[in-house]
Amino acid sequence: MPHQTLEELSTAFAAVFGRGIEEKAPRRLWTEIGAARNQEALAWLKKTGFLHLAAITGVDLGDRFELIYHLVKAGSVLSVKCTITKENPDLPSVTGVMPAAILYEQELHDILGIRISGHPDLKPLILPEGWPEGVYPLRKDWVVPDGGVNSG
């Protein structure tokens, strides 16, 4: 049964995942879940009509990584956050629930070194060939060498 209002949706979501859904700006919803329950949360939200996975953002917060799944329903964007540690940057793949995630997860692996378990094929996607293994450019501790020009 689809939820009629945001309040109903938020309450129902909180009952299962521990945190409600907040509208911080017009058509911009936010929530947070535990990373291990990402597949479950996305499947739950898909049933309520969030059918379009627009993007997955990865952010290096210094002491941990934050992943944000941007889901869309009827013009509203629901950004679902979760965090993982830097020591164990493991995240289950959501491609089983939302096949659109396939390249977005590959990109997270490329530029941040997030280990996506259960992904069909985590080969490099966007970094140039010959890019050294284990070097993740979007991590904060990686600095563009020599100001970037003629860097190799």
Partner: protein, 172 residues
């Protein structure tokens, strides 16, 4: 008429152009393609876009040379027979442009191969491309420097230098 001057005449009248994008945003590339379309029509100057470097006289390069495209750029250059001329189209090709300081860049075409003609712009409009190429053709004829950017114009002398190359020394 000697063979050499026949070849020189043919090149002047009908240079074959190879176009290679080294990681550009495509703006300069579509302006190069626009140069082929009826408003600008570089074919009337005898220029034809050729896919294979082995048939090319002029290499039109766009883009700031990403790491991934660097080796390829070199291979294409090596595949082209002498005498050959390299044209950097757009600010990124000239110097890396706005992408200077980004990782995975080499920084301009002349960081990889010698460039004979620099046509700046972001992007370079078709009229500027035609103007630059016309100056290059004029340089074929007279052997005088093109007067645009750092590279000196090559001369179509009858005796190529020992390297089989008619270039002034590159700054790379």
């Amino acid at each position: 008429m000697s063979l050499a001057s026949l070849i020189k005449w043919a090149r002047l009248k009908s240079p074959w152009v190879v176009h290679y994008n080294t990681g550009a945003c495509n703006a300069c590339d579509i302006e190069i393609v626009a140069a082929l379309t009826p408003r600008y029509d570089i074919e009337r100057l005898g220029m034809i876009a050729k896919a294979s470097p082995r048939h090319g006289d002029v290499l039109l390069c766009t883009g700031p040379v990403t790491k991934q495209s660097r080796d390829r750029l070199l291979r294409i250059y090596e595949q082209m027979p002498d005498p050959k001329f390299v044209v950097a189209v757009g600010s990124c090709a000239c110097s890396g442009g706005v992408f200077n300081g980004c990782y995975s860049m080499s920084g301009g075409i002349d960081s990889v191969i010698p460039v004979d003609l620099y046509i700046p712009g972001c992007s370079t409009r078709p009229a500027a491309i035609i103007d630059g190429l016309a100056k290059l053709l004029a340089a074929f004829d007279t052997g005088k420097p093109v007067g645009f950017g750092i590279g000196a114009a090559p001369s179509l002398s009858e005796e190529p230098d020992k390297g089989g190359n008619n270039h002034a020394s590159p700054n790379a």
